[in-house]
Symmetry: C2
Subunit: 327 residues, 2 copies
């Protein structure tokens, strides 16, 4: 079966189980904002990868399904809190939770999603040893992602931002997160610690690769926010392009770049955005970013070859699937 | 040793260990807002009660110290998120974290505190069985407190709020929370499930009792916010007094009461507050609340007598300590 099909099938299963974990029309002020957010989409790729990895390594995916749900609820908790933190008002053409239900409900509903992640992991039908390992995995991912988010929040419009700082930030913010589901699937399958370690390494190269591509998409196709180009610039987001331009631009360009990035969102004009795009072109930042991301993908494939299992097909398929798109 | 002394000694120990868990001057944008908040005080009563309970039931408090830290970090996570959700700008005469560091950092630093709670619990030097029980306790408390907070947020200025709804809300929001540390201490000591169950019950009567007293303090002495009387009214908070007045007031009083409670904080005048206080007096709400809280305390003492351990001294001391003050 092709991996796209597996993701579809497992994704549908996850959707069903999510409705058991958080009943959609329960009257408690939590499920309504949560399902408003959940319906904005997402193909449940992360939890599906958990189940696919578990199965490929000889495990029983039914034993990994609780952890897969945990990965999905934690993912959505981060999206919900990030939308408030970034001041994003639209997600997939719908108002974000804080816009529709207020900041208080959005913070609290996000907190609830995390409770669901732990509750679901604790209900896993696995041995105590495996359960504790899964809880360690969830907690490590949660902790590191929050640390990455702290760097992200405070890097906005920072003058001393650099490619190194960018990489540290996105390794934390996206790396653990990307690997988490696969790691959980591997733990449930009972595979060796060495395999698990390699999957973490894989996440730490793939995560940044996709984040850089995501940064590039903002400049070429626009992000699902009505397809507008440059919303990261409007937002003052600490992107790869910004980190690289800060390193190579002349003093004047650097100063103006920082000024534009530190402007409040609604004061950033279209000509500001055009100017930043031109600076990125002038310093070849886009080409540099593309090459950098490609290098990371190559490193990821190298890591896959080092995973101590005989059949590495599933990891190659996952990598190639993600290299094409990541939801 | 008197319980006040035990709390002081154990509280100091917790303070020390907190500095190991979250090093105060680490440069990561997380410890600064967290320690700004931590320094606003708190006597670490909750974690101390965890250690005291563990010791009294024959356990080794050194094995409970990780869970005690978890209780304290989760407690502070709730305070940090609640301050944003309630729009509170001052806590113990200091600006709240969201005021000083921005909402994004305050949400994220709260999230980090929860990661610390799980990390600390996972590091407990106890058997796997006990560790899983502790993680269940932490997760249940976290989930139920968030559910209670959801009811609280959405009860503000609600016309159909009632004493029953108030009790449901505070049982969730304060009950689990109050019992959590003691439950953890009991689990580490290895005592029977029956004892643990009674401690949960104790929390569910003591928590609401202290919340009602907290609501009363706002009308008599003012809360640590510069000693101003009626800040709950300004905030439109769903207090016991409000729930009772809604049940017994005549239609006109009820309408005006709802109107005042639904006003934004800065539009509520001093004469609005005075009018609400007079209505509470008119309907004897203050006396009713005092009696209600006293009944709950009596119930709590009854629950203590039912705890299946020979020496109930520690529970009586805890109850009497808390009946005097709760930080």
């Amino acid at each position: 079966m092709r991996i796209e099909e597996s993701i579809k099938i497992y994704g549908a299963k996850i959707d069903e189980l999510l409705k058991e974990l958080i009943p959609p029309y329960r009257k408690d002020y939590l499920s309504e904002p949560i399902w408003h957010h959940m319906h904005t989409g997402g193909k449940r790729v992360r939890p599906a990868l958990c189940l696919i990895t578990c199965e490929a390594l000889g495990g029983n995916p039914n034993e990994a399904v609780h952890f897969a749900l945990a990965v999905e609820t934690m993912h959505n908790m981060f999206l919900m809190h990030d939308d408030i933190e970034d001041g994003d008002t639209i997600r997939r053409d719908q108002p974000t939770v804080w816009v529709k239900y207020g900041t208080a409900n959005a913070i609290n509903a996000g907190d609830y999603l995390l409770a669901c992640a732990y509750k679901s992991t604790l209900a896993s039908p696995v041995s105590l040893e495996k359960k504790i390992k899964l809880l360690h995995t969830l907690t490590l991912t949660y902790e590191k992602t929050v640390e990455g988010q702290a760097l992200d929040i405070n890097a906005r419009a920072a003058e001393d931002f650099s490619v190194d700082k960018y990489m540290k930030m996105v390794e934390l913010k996206t790396g653990y997160y990307l690997a988490c589901g696969m790691v959980g699937g591997a733990i449930v399958s009972g595979i060796s610690e060495q395999v698990v370690e390699k999957i973490w390494t894989l996440g730490k190269t793939m995560g940044p690769a996709f984040q850089i591509r995501d940064d590039l998409i903002d400049l070429t196709h626009g992000k699902g926010r009505g397809g507008v180009i440059g919303s990261d610039i409007k937002e003052g987001k600490a992107s790869f392009l910004y980190s690289y331009a800060l390193q190579v631009a002349c003093a004047d360009d650097k100063e103006r770049l920082c000024n534009i990035m530190s402007k409040p969102r609604d004061e950033t004009t279209d000509s500001d955005i055009k100017w930043v795009l031109d600076v990125y072109k002038k310093y070849n930042a886009i080409k540099y970013a593309q090459d950098y991301a490609e290098d990371l993908v190559k490193q990821a494939y190298k890591t896959i070859e080092e995973i101590p299992v005989e059949d590495k097909t599933v990891f190659r398929e996952i990598a190639s699937f993600m290299a094409q798109r990541m939801s």
